[in-house]
C-alpha cells in the first residue's frame, strides 16, 4: 500500500515513518502542501496523512484539491494535525477529509487505522476504495 506523509515537521514525519515501517508499505514524504499535492497526483497513494499548518499550501487546501480531482478523489485522506479546536475539525471534514487525527496521536491507533484502510481496499488493483 502506498502512503504519503505530509508534515513540515521532520520529526513528525520521522515518527510516522518509524511507526509504519516494517509492513510492506511504500512511504512517501512531503514537507509542504505543494509538494504533498504533487506526490498525491504523481504516485496515487492509497492513504494521505495531512498536516494542516504547512508552508505554501495548507493541508485543507491540499485535501480539497485531492478530493475534487477525479484522478485522486479515491484517495483516503486523514488529517493529522495539532489544530485541536472543534472549528478546525469541522473545517477539515468539510474539506472532504475521511478522518481527523489530533496531535499528539497514538502510533498504535495510527497503525490500526492504516490496517483498516488496507482491509477496506476492494482489491490489489488499487481501485478507489470509497468510504472505508
Amino acid at each position: 500500500m502506498k502512503l504519503l506523509i505530509a508534515d513540515d515537521e521532520p520529526s513528525v514525519r520521522s515518527l510516522v515513518h518509524v511507526t509504519l515501517e516494517g509492513d510492506e508499505h511504500t512511504i512517501f514524504e512531503a514537507s509542504d502542501g505543494v509538494e504533498a499535492l504533487e506526490v498525491a497526483r504523481s504516485e496515487h497513494p492509497n492513504l494521505v496523512l495531512l498536516d494542516i499548518m504547512m508552508p505554501k499550501l495548507d493541508g485543507l487546501a491540499v485535501c480539497r484539491a485531492i478530493k475534487s480531482d477525479p484522478a485522486t478523489s479515491g484517495t483516503v485522506v486523514i488529517m493529522l494535525t495539532a489544530q485541536a479546536q472543534d472549528r478546525d475539525r469541522d473545517q477539515g471534514l468539510a474539506a472532504g477529509a475521511d478522518d481527523y487525527f489530533t496531535k499528539p496521536f497514538s502510533p498504535l491507533a495510527l497503525l490500526n487505522m492504516v490496517e483498516r484502510v488496507r482491509e477496506a481496499r476492494p482489491g490489489p488493483g488499487g481501485a478507489a476504495p470509497g468510504r472505508w
Binding site: S11, V12, L15, D32, P55, A82, Q83, T102, F105, P107
Partner: protein
C-alpha cells in the same frame, strides 16, 4: 342730596296752599254771595210789595174818587158805600206803603208828599159829600162845579205818578246791582281756575324737568348698560338724586368699561405670554401687557430652578445693563428680603415704598434700592397647578400703592404668566435635555444614525460620518440602507428588511446583529466589520416614530479576536508538536522491539522534544510576565564588553562551523542593565545568528559608543551573521509574537516564535531600541542600543 325730596315736598306744599287758597276763595265768595243775596232778596220783596202797594193804593183811590163823583151826581147811596170802602182800602195801602218805604229813606218825602195830597183830596171829597147831604143835589153841583176836589185829585195823581217813577227807577237800579254781584263772583272763579291751571302746568313742567326727563334718560342709560353698551357715556346734568344716580351709573360704566378693557388686555396678555418661549421674552411680554395697565415701567422675572431655588432669570425695562448685573449679584440678599411666605400662598404683595423693604435688608439690597430709582414694587407670585413656579416683580418710579382692582388684575395676570412660565421652563428643560441628547449623540464614539419610520436618515453623528464616509448633510432624507449598506461573509448584501433597524421598526423592540461576518461598505467601497444594534424610537403612545441604528466598528475587536485565535492556535501547535514526538516515540519504545541504535534515536527525539517544550514554556512564562508587568528589571552597572565575551565562549565551544568574534571599541561607558536580561538578549541574538547561518561563516558581535543627542550617550551592540538573511517582507513582523519566517530552513531550525519578541521587549524595558538590517541570502545584522549609565540618570526603569 335730598333735593328731589325737598323739591317734591315744596311742590306739594305749594299745591296744598294753592288748593287751600282756592277753597277759601270759593268758600268766601259763595258765602258772600249768599249773604248778599239774602238781604237783597228781602229788599226786593219789600220793594216789590212797596210797588204793588202803591199801585194798589192808586187803584183804590181812583175807585174812591169815581164813586164819590157818582154819588155826588146821582146821590146814589151804593156809590157812597163803595166810595167809603175804597177810601178805607186806600188809607190802608198808604199806611202799608209808608211802612215799607222806611227802608228807602229817599222815598219817604215822596210818599209824604203823596200822603199830604191824598189827605187834602180826601178832605175835599168829604166836604162835597157833606155838602150834598146838607144842601142837596143842586148845591152839590155848585160845589162840584167849583172843582175843589177835582183839583186836589189831580195833584194827588201827579204826586203819585212821581212816586211811581221814583219806584220804577229804584227797581232798575236794584236789578242792576244784583247783576253786578253775580259777575264779580264769576270773575273770581275764572281767575282761580286760570291760576290753578297755570300752577298745575308749572308743577307739571317742573316735575317733568326735575323727574320725568331724568328718569327717562336714566332708564335708557340703564337699558344701554344692561344691553352691554359700555361706550356711550351716561350724562345727566341734573343737580338732584337722579343726577347723582346718573353720576354713579357713569362711574359704574367707566369701571365696567375699564374692566372690560382690562379683561381684553388680560386676554391679549394671555395670548402673548403663551407665545413666549424664552424667559426674557416672557418678561418683556408681561411688562408690555401689564405695564400700561398698572403704570409700571420695569419688570423682573424669577423662576424656581430644578433645585427648588428662586433664581432671577430676566429683566425688562432696566436700561442700565449694570443694574441687571447688580441685581443678579445681590440675588441671594434680595431673596432673603422678600416676603416669600405670602408669595408662596399665591398672594400679590404690594410694597409701596421699597425703602421700607430695604431698611431691614442686607447691604447689597440697600445699595441697589438707592440706585435703582424705583419707589414702589409689586410682587406677583406665579403659581401654576398649585405649585409656586416663579415671581414677577413690577417696579414704579413713583410711589404707587396698589388698589384692590390692580391687585386682583395682577393676581389674574399672574395665573396666566405662571402657566406660560411653567411651559417656558418645561420648554427650556426639554431644550436642555435635547441639547444633552444631541451632545451625546454627536460625541458618542460609535456610529449612530437616526431615521424616520420609513427608514430615511434624519441625523447622523460624527463617528458615523467617519465610518461611512458620508456627511450628515448629504444623506439626510436618503434610505439608510443606501447610506450604510452591509454585507454578510462572502460579500452577500444583507437585505434592508432583514437588518436590525427594519426589525426594530417592524416589531417595536430593540434588535441587533452582533454576529461575526457583518461588514459595512463605506462610501469608497472599503469594508469595515461592524456590530449593529437598533432600537425603535417610541412616542408616549408607544407608536414607532423613528429608529436609531448604532453601528460599532469592530475591526479592532475582530483583529484582537483573530490574533487571540491565532495565538491559541500557534501555542497549541507549538505545544502539541513536541508532545506528539514525545508521546509517539515513547509509545514505540514501549510497544515495539527495535535495534539499540533506533532506540537511541527515538530517545534523542524525545529528549529534544522535551527541551523544546521546556523552552517554549519558559518563553511563554516570560512573555506572560512581561505583558502583565510582573517582570521587573534589577539594573546595575555593566561592562558590556566583558559581558559579550562571557556570552560568546559557550557558543564558540559548540559551533564548530562558525567563526565567532567580538569587536569592542575602547573607552566604552558603563551601561545600566539587568545582567540576566542582557545575557538573555545577547544569547538570543547570537543563537539566532548561528541557527540561521547553517552554512557556517562569521558571527561578529560589535560593541560601540554612540554619541546621542544631549547627554544621553548610548552603547550599541550589533550581531552580524552571514546566514540565510531575509526579504523585506519577511522582516515586517519579525519582532511580533509567534511570528516565524515561513521558510523551510527556518522551520527546520525550530523555535517558538517568541525569541525576538522577548528580546525586543527586554531591550525596550532597558530604554533601548532594536532593529534589523538584512538581505535574503546575504546575512542579517541585528542591532540594539542600551543607554549609558549617565544617560539613564533620572529615567528610571522597570
Amino acid at each position: 342730596m335730598r333735593r328731589l325730596r325737598v323739591q317734591l315736598t315744596v311742590l306739594l306744599a305749594m299745591l296744598g296752599l294753592l288748593v287751600a287758597a282756592w277753597g277759601a276763595t270759593i268758600f268766601l265768595g259763595a258765602r258772600n254771595a249768599a249773604l248778599l243775596n239774602a238781604s237783597e232778596q228781602v229788599k226786593v220783596s219789600r220793594f216789590d210789595e212797596l210797588r204793588r202797594t202803591t199801585i194798589d193804593f192808586e187803584m183804590k183811590f181812583v175807585d174812591a174818587e169815581t164813586n164819590q163823583r157818582s154819588f155826588l151826581l146821582t146821590g146814589n147811596v151804593d156809590a157812597r158805600v163803595r166810595y167809603a170802602l175804597a177810601r178805607r182800602r186806600a188809607d190802608e195801602r198808604l199806611r202799608r206803603a209808608r211802612a215799607l218805604a222806611l227802608a228807602w229813606p229817599a222815598l219817604l218825602p215822596r210818599i209824604d208828599r203823596v200822603q199830604t195830597s191824598y189827605v187834602k183830596w180826601a178832605k175835599a171829597a168829604e166836604a162835597e159829600i157833606r155838602a150834598r147831604d146838607r144842601y142837596g143835589a143842586a148845591a152839590a153841583s155848585i160845589v162840584v162845579g167849583q172843582g175843589a176836589s177835582q183839583n186836589r185829585f189831580t195833584e194827588l195823581r201827579i204826586h203819585h205818578t212821581a212816586l211811581d217813577q221814583v219806584l220804577t227807577g229804584l227797581q232798575v237800579a236794584a236789578a242792576r246791582q244784583q247783576h253786578s254781584t253775580y259777575q264779580d263772583t264769576q270773575r273770581l272763579a275764572l281767575y282761580a281756575a286760570v291760576m290753578i291751571l297755570a300752577t298745575v302746568t308749572l308743577i307739571f313742567a317742573y316735575l317733568r324737568r326735575a323727574v320725568g326727563a331724568p328718569a327717562d334718560a336714566l332708564r335708557s342709560a340703564s337699558g344701554r348698560l344692561a344691553g352691554g353698551d359700555l361706550d356711550t357715556p351716561v350724562e345727566l346734568p341734573v343737580p338732584n338724586e337722579l343726577g347723582a344716580v346718573a353720576g354713579d351709573l357713569e362711574v359704574m360704566r367707566r369701571r365696567l368699561a375699564g374692566r372690560m378693557e382690562a379683561l381684553q388686555r388680560l386676554r391679549e396678555l394671555s395670548a402673548n405670554v403663551m407665545g413666549a418661549t424664552s424667559l426674557q421674552g416672557l418678561c418683556n411680554v408681561a411688562l408690555a401687557g401689564l405695564g400700561p395697565e398698572v403704570g409700571a415701567a420695569r419688570a423682573a422675572l424669577a423662576a424656581v430652578d430644578q433645585r427648588g431655588r428662586l433664581q432671577l432669570r430676566a429683566l425688562s425695562g432696566f436700561g442700565d445693563p449694570e443694574m441687571a448685573e447688580l441685581i443678579v449679584k445681590a440675588d441671594e440678599e434680595i431673596r432673603a428680603a422678600l416676603p416669600l411666605r405670602d408669595l408662596y400662598v399665591g398672594q400679590v404683595v404690594g410694597i409701596a415704598d421699597v425703602g421700607d423693604l430695604a431698611r431691614t435688608a442686607a447691604e447689597p439690597v440697600r445699595e441697589l434700592v438707592a440706585r435703582v430709582g424705583s419707589r414702589s414694587l409689586a410682587l406677583v407670585p406665579l403659581v401654576s397647578r398649585g405649585s409656586f413656579v416663579g415671581l414677577l416683580g413690577l417696579f414704579w418710579s413713583e410711589r404707587h400703592p396698589l388698589d384692590q382692582e390692580q391687585e386682583a388684575l395682577l393676581g389674574l395676570a399672574g395665573n396666566q404668566i405662571a402657566g406660560a412660565l411653567a411651559a417656558a421652563l418645561r420648554y427650556e428643560e426639554a431644550e436642555r435635555a435635547a441639547g444633552e441628547a444631541r451632545a451625546v449623540f454627536y460625541a458618542i464614539a460609535d456610529g449612530v444614525l437616526l431615521t424616520d419610520p420609513a427608514g430615511r436618515v434624519t441625523a447622523m453623528n460624527r463617528a458615523m460620518e467617519l465610518l461611512s464616509g458620508w456627511t450628515e448633510a448629504e444623506v439626510r432624507g436618503l434610505p439608510y440602507a443606501e447610506v450604510v449598506p452591509v454585507e454578510e461573509e462572502g460579500s452577500i448584501p444583507i437585505r434592508p428588511e432583514a437588518r436590525p433597524l427594519a426589525r426594530a421598526i417592524a416589531t417595536g423592540e430593540p434588535a441587533s446583529d452582533q454576529g461575526y461576518g457583518v461588514d459595512l461598505v463605506t462610501r469608497d467601497g472599503r469594508k469595515v466589520p461592524v456590530a449593529v444594534s437598533s432600537a425603535p424610537i417610541l412616542d408616549p403612545g408607544g407608536r414607532v416614530v423613528g429608529a436609531v441604528d448604532v453601528v460599532r466598528d469592530v475591526s479592532r475587536e475582530r483583529e484582537i479576536d483573530e490574533v487571540k485565535s491565532a495565538l491559541i492556535s500557534t501555542v497549541s501547535h507549538e505545544l502539541r508538536t513536541p508532545l506528539t514526538l514525545i508521546h509517539g516515540f515513547a509509545e514505540l519504545l514501549v510497544l515495539r522491539d527495535m535495534p539499540v541504535e533506533r532506540q537511541r534515536a527515538a530517545a534523542e527525539e524525545i529528549l529534544e522534544a522535551s527541551r523544546r517544550l521546556a523552552r517554549l514554556i519558559d518563553d511563554l512564562l516570560s512573555v506572560s510576565r512581561m505583558e502583565s508587568g510582573r517582570l521587573v528589571l534589577d539594573p546595575r552597572p555593566l561592562d558590556l564588553a566583558s559581558v559579550v565575551e562571557r556570552i560568546l565562549s559557550p557558543f564558540r565551544a559548540m559551533a564548530t562551523r562558525h567563526a565567532i568574534r567580538a569587536e569592542a571599541t575602547s573607552g566604552l561607558p558603563v551601561v545600566w542593565g539587568d545582567p540576566d536580561k542582557v545575557d538573555q538578549i545577547l544569547t538570543n541574538l547570537v543563537g539566532n545568528a548561528i541557527k540561521y547561518s547553517p552554512g557556517g561563516g562569521e558571527v561578529v558581535v560589535a560593541v560601540e559608543r554612540l554619541h546621542g543627542a544631549g547627554n544621553a550617550d548610548l552603547v550599541q551592540v550589533s550581531v552580524r551573521d552571514q546566514g540565510i538573511g531575509m526579504s523585506p517582507r519577511e522582516m515586517g513582523q519579525l519582532f511580533e509574537k509567534f511570528y516565524r519566517v515561513d521558510r523551510d530552513e527556518v522551520r527546520r531550525a525550530g523555535g517558538t516564535g517568541l525569541g525576538l519578541y522577548i528580546t525586543k521587549r527586554l531591550v525596550e524595558m532597558h530604554g533601548g531600541r532594536i532593529w534589523v538590517e538584512s538581505r535574503l541570502g546575504a546575512g542579517s545584522v541585528f542591532s540594539f542600543t542600551l543607554p549609558s549609565r549617565d544617560g539613564l540618570v533620572g529615567r528610571g526603569s522597570r
